[in-house]
Structures are given as C-alpha cells and as structure tokens.
C-alpha cells in the first residue's frame, strides 16, 4: 500500500492523509463495518510510516472494549502484498523499464542472430548455372541493338516495346501490352484505404503520353500445368527521348535471361517478365499490373476506344497489327517476384548488390527469399548490402558506444567463456546504421521499390539493385557484368522454381542488421514490451491511488484536490460523515463520487479522441478548399499573397481547422472538478497502450518510435496548479517538496517536449531549411505522401499520438 509520502509524490499535493479524523463517536457501528475495518487493518500493517500509525491506532483501541464480534486478524495475501509493493514503486519501476527498453533497442545489433535457410526445398546453388558467356555475349549484342533502335525512333518507348515484342514472339513466348493511367492525385478523395484506380476511367481524357504501357511476356513452363508462376520485373524509363545506359543494360540483361528461360527444360513454373514503364515510378506500374491480374475490372472497350488505345500504344506497325497484343493474359498463382535493375555505382569500387525488401507499412517478404539471395551472393563472392543511413557511421557517439560494447564483450569473455561476444565497434555501428535505415523505411510505411506492390497481394518479392562500378559502355565490362549477375539471378530463379509450397517456413516479421544477420519478432518485441509495460503500471497506480483517496476521504475530494479546505468546515464534515456512516452509505456514496469522476473523464477522453479522428479527415478538405480558391483567384487575375506556396497554405489551413475544431470540442465538455485529472490520465494511459499495442501488430517500427515519444509524454504530466501549491504551503518540509518539485518540473518539461506543437516545429526544422514557409511545404508533402500510401504512421500520429499528447497538456493545465 501507499505511504503518505508517496501519495504526495503522486498526487502532486502536499496533504497528509486525513485518515486520523475518523472520530471515536463512530464506534458503536464499527462492528458492522467489518469489511472496511479489515481494509484499514491491512493498511495499518503495511504503511508503518510515522504519523499514520497513531492515527490508525486510535479507533482501533477504542473498539477494543465494545465489540460483540471479535475482530479477526487481518490476513494479507502474498500476491496482494507484491502488487502493493509494485504499485508503490511504480514510478521507479517505470523509469527503469523505460531506460531498459531504450538500452535494449541500442543492443539489438549485438543480440541479432545469423540467418539460416529453413525451407529445405530451396536448395540454393545445387545446380550448375546455364547462364554462361554465350548468354552474356547475346546480352551485349542486344545492348547495341536497343541503343540503335531507340536512337532511330522518334518515340523511345515505342521502340523498346517493338523490340521486346518482336524478341519475345521470336522465341515463342506470349506477349501483350498492359496500359495504365497515372495514379490519382493524392488527397482528391476521402478514401484513405482504398487502392487508387489505375485503369483510366475515361479514355478520351488521357492525353497522349500520359498513359503508361507495360510490356509483359510469359513463358509457359514445359513441365507444369501452368497454375503457378514467378514474376520478373525490370523497370525502365525514357528521359528526353533517351534510354539511360543503365536501363539499356537492365533491359538487355532481362531479355537475355528471358530467352534463356525460353529454351530451358527445368522450369516448373511459368515465367512472367514485365518491362515496367517507370514514368510514374516502378511501383505504380507493377501495382497496376498486379491489380489487373488479381482483380480484373469490368471494362469493355468500344471499337473507338480500342482504336484510340491502339494508337496510343504505338500501333507497333510493320505488319504485327495483332489485336491480341492488348488482351490481358495470365499464368496462374504467383509464388514469388523478383525486381532487378542495373545502376551505375561508384567508380573504382567493387560491383555490389543492394537488396531492398521493405513493403508498405513495414511488411517484409519471407526471410528465406533474402537468405537464398544472400547465400548465392556469398557463394559467388559478390558483395551484398542493404540500405543504411549515411551519416551514422561517422557519429562519434555511436562509435564510442560501439567501442564500449566491444570492450564489454571482450571482458565478459574473460570472466566467463560463454558470456563473451565478438562485436567490433565498426561492425556494431554498421549494423546499427542498417537497422535504423530499415527501421525508418518501415516506419514511413512507403515501400522502397516495386517489390512493395507484390506484398499487397501476399506475394514475396525483393528488389535487387545491381551497382555496376565499371564503365557501362565498355563491352568487355558488360560481358563480365552480365555473366556474374546472370548466374546469381538464375540461381535465385532455380531455387524459387524448386519450391513446393508458398514461402511459409521462415520469418515474416524481422529486422535486418545485415544481409546475414537478423532480429526476429521474439527479440524485438522485448524492448517494446519494456517500454509499454510502464503505461498499464502507471494506470494501475493511479487507479489504486484514486480508490485509496476515496477510502480515506469519502464524500469529499479533500485528499485528491483541495488544500483549500478551511479549518472551520472540518468538524461539520466529520459530523455529516458520521451520519452517513451510521446509515451505512459510506461505500455507496464513495462509489458515486468515483463513478461521476470516471464519467466525466470518459467524456473528455472520448471527445478528444473523436476530435482527433475528425482532424485525420481534414487534409482532403483543406486541399480541395485551397485548390478551389486558387482556381477562382487565378481566373479573376489576383495572384496569391506574399510568396505563400499552395502546399504551405494547405498545411496552415489544416492546422487552423484543427485548432478551431479543438475549441469547439472544448466548449462542449463538462466542467471538470478538481481531481478529475487522475481519472483522465488513467484513461489516456489505457488508450495509449491500446493504440501502441495495435500499432505493434500493424507496423512495429511505428509502434516502437511512438512508444519512445509517447510513454514519457503520457506518464509525466500532473497539474501545474499543484506545483504552485506545494511551493506556497509546504514550507516546513523543504527537502521533500524540493524533490517532488524537481520531479514535477522535469515531468512538465518532458510533456512539453512531447507535445504536438513542439514536435511539429522540430519536424519542420528537420525537414526544411531555415525558412518557415519552405518547411511547411515539406510537411504538407509528407502528409500527401503518407496519405497516398495509406501509411500506418499517419493513422498513428493523428489518431493515437495527437489525442494522447493533447490530453497530457490538458492535464498539465487542469
């Protein structure tokens, strides 16, 4: 149970409990209230601190001569006692858990485990590669051919399409063109979760060149029934009528591989190759194709529209006027996807492969797919790496930390052989940089490439970004490059081809420290658990404090709130309390007080939560209002004022709307009574816990980052008013009030630091450069980005973080 000292610390008031005021007149009815007496007995036993002992002793001693019923010895269960101890030190435990959680996050690279292939059927590297120097030579020839074709043609895209279709039909593969329109402008509709409509609604509105066209080739596997398929994707884009040399290499390389598969007899799955038109980004192209593949829209083209579309796609001329080219063809269930493209790397460094795997909202492909690639790359001695945050390697702090960890590992090994671990400082920092990059990508919730589109359809896919560091135009280098990358991709294909079922053996929930080291869900949930356990603990402590306050001072809020209880009114209250007690109403009355407090708190919290949901829906409104204003202004010939860009206007309008609606909400709330804040805080803690737990299932990275910010913001606040009171009245207990004053001050500071305006300003400073307007613009762009991607981060920020942190401020000023 709780000592008076602790009470003060938690309530932020300096009153000693008024328990002692239970007078002796009440004794005739004592025996009836045995339950209550027992409870007090318990308290007496446990809170053996100073003054309260005599206070409790008084009624007890008075009882000794009267009772017709013997007073049983109060029995305290061990579990209850333990709970009481935990609640008593809840703040200390919270601080320990929170710091432990943060430390565990930093230790994740040390705790990560090496990856292993758990699906037997994959058997990477068990067959010899067929892709040899001949295929590489073919690819090199194709580079030249493609270059010439694009240079001759007026429309680069059409040249590529014609080249691809001709080549594909030459080896007997099915081929067709898939058209899609540009993605919807973000924030034009209120739909947050629905996928954008890629199929053009109205053909006439799509002006020339705005339609994207994917070329798709399908090889039917000789040994299968055609009910399963693997998808290869090579994105390309034409800028200024030219195909970049990297894209040229990508396409030729892809075609060489495709032709190889066309002639191979080992395929057990159909191969679909998509030359993704990346003019709106490779993700859009692949997503549109996948949507059409899985959920075909009913669009029956009229002859006119077909003609228009045909013209649009280039007609392909030269006798190959085959209308079946526009017919969408399928090849069964897609078991895996592989996106690969060649990029120009740093000159002078070795060629390397970057693997990107983060899908929308932190979804990852099955770890086995990455394991296969990693195994093959290591076997072929090709450097393989993941994205990492650039500046982190040079950070002095992290390097120092790494050295400290290295030393700890070394000395722990000295003490006991099993305790040691070999983790050099540089590898620690590298792992942490990789981990943080993967973490950030997961938190933002946008996929890092075209592979993310596959994840939306439960297909495992990764992107292999091949950095070629040599001279891309040199033919000998090209042959060398093709030969090495070709063997790798073919090896991955063979492994995937061997699969008997969908990928299911290995992990779906993991973080990568390097291609060969991972942190599994069982491990990374530990820091989150440590961070989150503080919230229910705080709520339980508050709840028990409320219950106790009601027990101690029933019928009035004197314990919780009012130091202003004047001395004169005290005896009266004692009398009324007697009457109440003699009527046996004490418990019920207390309950009622309590119920009223909870009711008001529930009202406040749900109103603010509702406000947050409404704020979440404002961006489309703000966007459309500003757009409308802009069109009307430009038509009347008035230019926008003072260099404000549209985006920053939209952002400010959103903020203004949010604040205005908050005022509307605040005016409709019931008048809070003193002491309500504890109930509000308990509810906020509950809501925040629920929000973070749910987020941990949706997107772990968001949840962890949210917990780091939200836990102190929600746990720390207590009314500022009480802080003033302490300094005003508690002159005699200087050192104690000093301690509580410092802790209250720190709590207030933390709450302010975690509040929306401060974080918003911090984000604006981080995103923008110096000018306020510029950063507003960046903020709006981020909002658009998050909204259009259906990001969990957006939901978290607006629906969980905003109400919780606002309510923390509310508590501060209540």
């Amino acid at each position: 149970m709780r000592t008076p000292q602790h009470d003060r610390f938690l309530f932020g008031t300096g009153v000693a409990p008024t328990t002692g005021s239970v007078p002796e007149q009440a004794k005739p009815i004592r025996h009836v209230e045995r339950g209550a007496e027992e409870r007090r007995g318990e308290k007496r036993e446990e809170s053996c601190v100073g003054s309260s002992v005599e206070e409790f002793a008084a009624p007890h001693a008075a009882m000794a001569d009267a009772p017709p019923l013997p007073l049983p010895k109060p029995r305290v269960r061990a579990l209850r006692r333990l709970a009481a101890v935990v609640l008593r030190y809840s703040q200390l435990i919270s601080i320990i858990c929170y710091s432990a959680g943060l430390i565990t996050v930093l230790l994740l690279p040390v705790l990560s485990k090496p990856t292993y292939i758990s699906e037997n059927a994959l058997m990477p590297g068990s067959a010899n590669s067929v892709f040899g120097s001949k295929s590489a030579m073919d690819a090199r020839l194709m580079v030249e051919e493609l270059q010439n074709l694009v240079a001759e043609s007026s429309d680069g895209y059409m040249a590529v399409r014609r080249w691809a279709i001709n080549r594909m039909s030459a080896i007997g593969a099915d081929s067709y063109l898939h058209t899609f329109s540009s993605p919807e402008k973000p924030l034009t509709s209120m739909r947050f979760f629905s996928s954008p409509q890629h199929m053009p609604q109205n053909w006439n509105s799509t002006t020339d060149g705005r339609l994207g066209v994917n070329v798709v080739g399908i090889i039917k596997a000789p040994r299968s029934e055609g009910n399963e398929a693997v998808v290869l994707v090579t994105p390309f884009a034409i800028e200024d009528g030219k195909l970049s040399s990297a894209d040229k290499l990508t396409l030729s390389f892809g075609m060489a591989l495709f032709e190889l598969y066309g002639s191979s007899n080992w395929l057990a799955r159909d191969v679909i190759w998509i030359l993704a038109d990346a003019r709106y980004g490779s993700y859009t192209a692949v997503a549109a194709w996948l949507e059409e593949y899985h959920e075909p829209k009913r669009h029956l083209l009229s002859a006119e529209e077909a003609a228009h579309l045909y013209q649009e796609t280039g007609g392909l001329s030269e006798g190959s006027n085959d209308p079946s080219l526009l017919e969408f063809k399928r090849a069964g269930f897609i078991s895996a996807g592989l996106v690969y493209h060649v990029s120009a790397g740093n000159r002078g460094k070795a060629d390397s492969i970057k693997v990107s795997a983060e899908g929308p909202n932190g979804q990852m492909p099955n770890l086995d797919l990455i394991n296969v690639i990693n195994t093959l790359a290591q076997w072929r001695r090709m450097p393989i790496h993941l994205a990492e945050i650039k500046g982190m390697r040079d950070s002095a702090f992290l390097n120092g930390l790494g050295r400290a960890i290295e030393n700890v590992g070394y000395f722990a090994g000295k003490v006991h052989g099993d305790w040691g671990f070999a983790m050099s400082a540089s590898s620690y920092v590298e792992s942490l940089a990789t981990l943080c990059a993967s973490f950030l990508n997961q938190a933002i919730g946008r996929s890092t490439g075209a592979h993310g589109a596959f994840r939306d359809h439960q297909i495992d896919a990764v992107t292999l970004n091949m950095f070629a560091s040599g001279d891309l135009e040199s033919s000998s280098y090209q042959i060398d490059l093709f030969a090495r990358f070709g063997r790798l991709v073919e090896g991955v294909m063979r492994s995937v081809n061997n699969l008997l079922e969908k990928f299911h053996q290995s992990f779906f929930l993991y973080l990568l420290c390097s291609p060969s080291k991972f942190v599994s869900v069982g491990l990374y949930m530990i820091p989150l658990g440590l961070l989150l356990v503080t919230l229910p603990l705080g709520a339980a402590a508050l709840n028990s404090a409320l219950v106790k306050a009601d027990e101690i001072a029933p019928g009035s809020d004197s314990k919780v709130s009012s130091l202003g209880a004047t001395e004169g009114s005290a005896p009266e209250r004692v009398e009324t309390k007697d009457v109440e007690e003699s009527m046996g109403l004490l418990d019920i009355k207390t309950t009622k007080e309590n119920a009223g407090r909870w009711r008001r708190a529930i009202l406040v919290v749900s109103a603010v939560q509702l406000w947050a949901f409404v704020v979440a829906l404002f961006p489309p409104v703000a966007s459309s209002v500003v757009d409308m204003l802009e069109t009307s202004l430009t038509s009347t010939g008035i230019t926008p004022v003072g260099g404000f860009t549209l985006a920053s206007l939209k952002m400010s309008l959103w903020a203004v709307l949010a604040v205005l609606s908050l005022f509307v909400v605040l005016t409709s709330l019931p008048i809070a009574k003193a002491g309500d804040w504890m109930a509000v805080k308990a509810l906020v803690l509950g809501i925040a816990t629920i929000g973070l737990v749910v987020m941990s299932q949706v997107d772990f990275a968001v949840s962890l980052m949210g917990a780091v910010v939200l836990v102190p913001t929600c746990l720390c606040p207590s009314p500022l008013r009480d802080m003033w009171r302490i300094s005003a009245t508690q002159g005699q207990q200087k050192e104690r009030s000093m301690l509580s004053r410092v802790s209250l001050f720190l709590g207030t500071l933390v709450t302010f630091l975690g509040s929306p305006p401060v974080l918003l300003a911090a984000a604006a400073v981080l995103l923008g450069n110096a000018h306020g307007q510029v950063s507003l613009e960046r903020l709006w762009q981020w909002t658009e980005l998050l909204w259009s991607g259906g990001s969990a981060l957006y939901i978290f920020v607006v629906a969980v973080y905003l109400p919780s942190s606002y309510l923390s401020l509310h508590i501060l000023f209540s």
């Binding site: 439960q458 009527m583 046996g584 309950t591 009622k592 119920a595 529930i602 629920i690 749910v694």
Partner: protein, 471 residues
C-alpha cells in the same frame, strides 16, 4: 429538464449516427465482417434466400440462407438485391433495423423505469434509504431506464450491427420485448416475444426461466429473507412511521405468491399458442417450396451442429476444424451443455433478480454460442445497464472497458494479418477470441459477485437497523 434533454438528445444522436452511416454507405464495408454478421444473421444471405424464393425454389436450397422464413417475407422485399447505390434505397433497406433498435431502446427504458420504481419501493419497505434518490444528488442521476436507453442506442456494437446488414437487431428486439411483457405482467406479450426470439435465434430458450420468475415474483428485488427480517423487527419499533405501509406491501407480496402457478401456466399456454402460430405462418411463408423439417434442419440444427466453420468471434470454429469426425458429436454436446450446466446454479442463486439473471444468461450464451456477433454483446450491454444500481460497485470496470476497446480494435487487425497480409495465422485471430471470451467471463463473474455483495450489504443494513431499533 436537463435529464430529458440528455436522454432524447442522445437518442436522436444515436438514430442520426445510424442514418448518416447508412447514407455514407458503410453497409458495404461492414456486411462481410465476421464480427458483424454471422451465417445466421447475414442480410446478404437473406437477399439470396429471397431471390431463390422469388425464383420459385426453396429458400434453403444450397447453403446460403439459415434464417427464418418470416424474416424472408418481412425483410426480403424491403432490401431488394442489396446492390442499391442510391441513398434512398440504402435508407429504405436499413429503416426497419433502425426502428427495431429504437423500439428495443424504448422498451429497455420502460423496463428500467419500472425497475427503479420497484427498487425504491423495496428499499423503503426494508427501511433502508435509497442512496441514489437522496435529494442532493437527484439532478445528477439519470436512472437505470435512461442509462440503458442511451447505452443501447449509442453503443458502437449496436450501431455496427444495425448499419452493417445483420438481423441481430430484430432478434434483440424480440428478446427485450419478452422481458418487457414479463416485467409489465402482460403474459401474452411475454409468451409471444419469447416464442419469436427462440424461433429466430434458438438460444433465448434459456430466457424462459427469468421470464417465468419475472411474471411470478415481479421485477428484481432483494432476497425475500430480508423482508422477513425487517418484518420481524417491525413490531419491536412501534413508533416507526412506515410500519403499516410495510405490512400492507408484505401482504401484497404474499397474495401474489398464491397465483404464481397460474401465471406460469398462462405463460406456457401463450408461448405454445405463439409457437403454433409461428409455425403455421412459416409454413405459409415457405409457399410449399420447402418443409418445416427442412427449415428446422437449416436453422436450429445448423446452429447446433456448427456446420459452418468460417472464423467468427466464438470458440467453436477453431476447435471443430481440428476435432476428429468421430468425436464431433460428443464435443458438440459438451460445448452446448456448457450453457445448460450453468443455468441451474445461477437460477438458484439469483432467482430473486430475474432481469439480472437474464443479463447473465444472455452473456453466457453470447460467449458459448456457435455463431456469435457483436450484436449479442450489444444486447447484454443494454441489459447490464438496467442493473446499473446494483452493479455500480463493479470491480475491474476500468480493465473491462479497456479490454473491450482493445479487442474491438485488435480483432480486425489480427484478422487482416491472417487473411489479407498472410503474415499471421489462425492462432493470431483465435487469440483475440480467447481474450474476448475471457473478458466476458470476467464480466460474468464480477457482475454476479457484485450483486451478491450488494445483497449482503443490504442484509447488513437491515440487521443494523433492527439492532438500533431494538436498543
């Protein structure tokens, strides 16, 4: 004044939210959610059955429809093919459910008002002051009836079920109707409501017990032992002002006990008559396209044998996907007997509080039901609000509140992880179902112990009063 504002304003808000959600087209979002519709209550299936019937086939052909033929005739023409995109169509198809919800809430309100009246009467009779009617607090208290009205109309679960294309609202309405009939001693109404409710969803069959007690003994009251105690103490205190009144009321209670048997026989009679009428109407509604036996096989037997193992909020689907076929019947009996086993002890302990007993039985049914939805939760939460006075001391309220919020958010997320993302599996979702079942268990256990404690408190107070009088 303030009270009526809150109540009717809240009611209007509840209806407004429903209409707004319907007009925004949330039905298409909700009508395939396993939390909102079950195979038995799904409106999409009803539309299919209606179409089959119009087409001249048995509505039970295939495995689409598992509801009552009466609903088919009643709602079928109203909802059309459920493809309507015009607001008018949507509102029309939903209007019946909004009305059903409103009627249920109003009935709950009048039951609650009745309970409040009898309660203060009983407390007066016992000589214990009614703490909730104390003068100073009067303006602050809404009363069980109004609270229940608001809880039923504004509960997100009720709203979701009403908007999301499920016939649960109508089932709930009949259950509440039968309780209302019993509380106001309208025996035919009680019998009809009970027969209709059992016809629609079978599980209310257990509610016969609370309904019978309600008719025989009147609404919730403290244990009769207390009245005896206070009576025996009464002669000792001669200057007690309400002494005469006490005795009169005690006599009234005695008199009523004489006709208990007659009332129950009357209830049985009316229930049987209603059942007969319902079966006749069903036969008529089926238009010779299907037989009553077939109807029984496709409705009640379908619930009993748990043929559909689509994941839902309950515990059956997970278990019966795993169980071997030759154990199936045995475990079906075990699962269903769970409810039956709990009825006698609860009845013995709580027979003096029939409404509360009805709340507990509904909760148990909702927990161990073959195809539960949140509609069942909506019903028992409404009934729970009727007992708000006895339950005001409920422990773990904070925990329960947070638990219900948690599962209503985490449940869909886990379902999404399993079905759509493919990163989770059935265990993820079933874990949430287990949590839900645990929450309901905690709710049942805590509610019962709270009411028992409340009665014990009353006993203490009566004893105290006797002693103060004697001394």
């Amino acid at each position: 004044m303030g009270e009526s504002w809150v109540v009717w304003g809240g009611g209007a808000l509840g209806v407004g939210i429903r209409l707004l959600l319907v007009a925004l087209g949330s039905a298409s979002l909700l009508d395939h959610r396993v939390e909102v519709v079950s195979p038995v209550t799904s409106l999409s299936r009803l539309a299919e059955g209606h179409w089959l019937k119009e087409y001249g086939m048995s509505p039970y052909a295939g495995s689409a429809y598992h509801g009552s033929p009466l609903l088919l005739s009643l709602i079928g023409p109203l909802i059309g093919d459920r493809q309507g995109i015009y607001v008018g169509d949507l509102l029309r198809s939903c209007s019946l459910f909004v009305v059903a919800d409103l009627v249920s809430a109003l009935l709950l309100r009048s039951i609650g008002k009745l309970l409040e009246r009898t309660q203060s009467q009983h407390l007066l009779q016992l000589g214990v002051t009614d703490p909730f009617r104390a003068k100073s607090d009067k303006k602050d208290v809404l009363g069980a009836g109004n609270i229940s009205f608001l809880v039923y109309l504004l509960n997100p679960f009720t709203v979701a079920v009403c908007v999301g294309g499920s016939t649960s609202s109508i089932e709930n309405m009949f259950i509440i109707l039968s309780l209302y009939g019993a509380a106001t001693e309208k025996v035919p109404l009680a019998g009809f409501g009970w027969a209709m409710a059992t016809h629609l969803s079978m599980y209310p069959v257990f509610l016969f017990i609370p309904i019978a007690y309600l008719l025989a003994n009147g609404p919730d009251s403290p244990p009769s032992k207390l009245f005896d105690l206070s009576e025996s103490a009464a002669p000792a205190a001669e200057n007690d002002s309400c002494n005469e009144k006490d005795e009169k009321q005690a006599q009234k209670v005695k008199k009523a006990s004489g006709s208990k048997r007659a009332v129950i026989l009357k209830l049985v009679f009316w229930a049987a008559i209603s059942w007969g009428c319902i079966l006749r109407l069903c036969k008529h509604a089926l238009l010779e396209r299907s037989s009553l036996v077939n109807m029984w096989q496709k409705t009640h037997k379908y619930m009993l044998t748990v043929d559909d193992l689509t994941p839902n909020l309950g515990l059956f689907w997970y278990f019966f996907t795993e169980v071997f076929d030759f154990f199936r019947i045995f475990f079906l009996m075990v699962f269903h007997a769970n409810i039956a086993f709990m009825v006698p002890p609860l009845t013995i302990r709580l027979h003096h509080r029939p409404i509360f007993l009805a709340f507990i039985l509904t909760t148990i049914c909702s927990m161990v039901k073959s195809y539960p939805t949140v509609g069942d939760a909506a019903l028992y939460m409404g009934l729970m609000a009727l007992c708000v006075q006895e339950l005001s001391d409920l422990q773990y309220f904070y925990l329960l509140l947070n638990g219900y919020i948690l599962i209503s958010v985490l449940g869909p997320v886990m379902y999404n992880l399993w079905i759509f993302r493919g990163t989770g599996n059935a265990n993820f979702y079933f874990a949430i179902n287990l949590v839900y079942a645990t929450l309901q268990t905690v709710l049942i256990v805590e509610s019962v112990s709270t009411v028992v404690r409340y009665d014990r408190n009353l006993l203490k107070q009566v004893k105290l009063r006797n002693r103060t009088k004697n001394s």
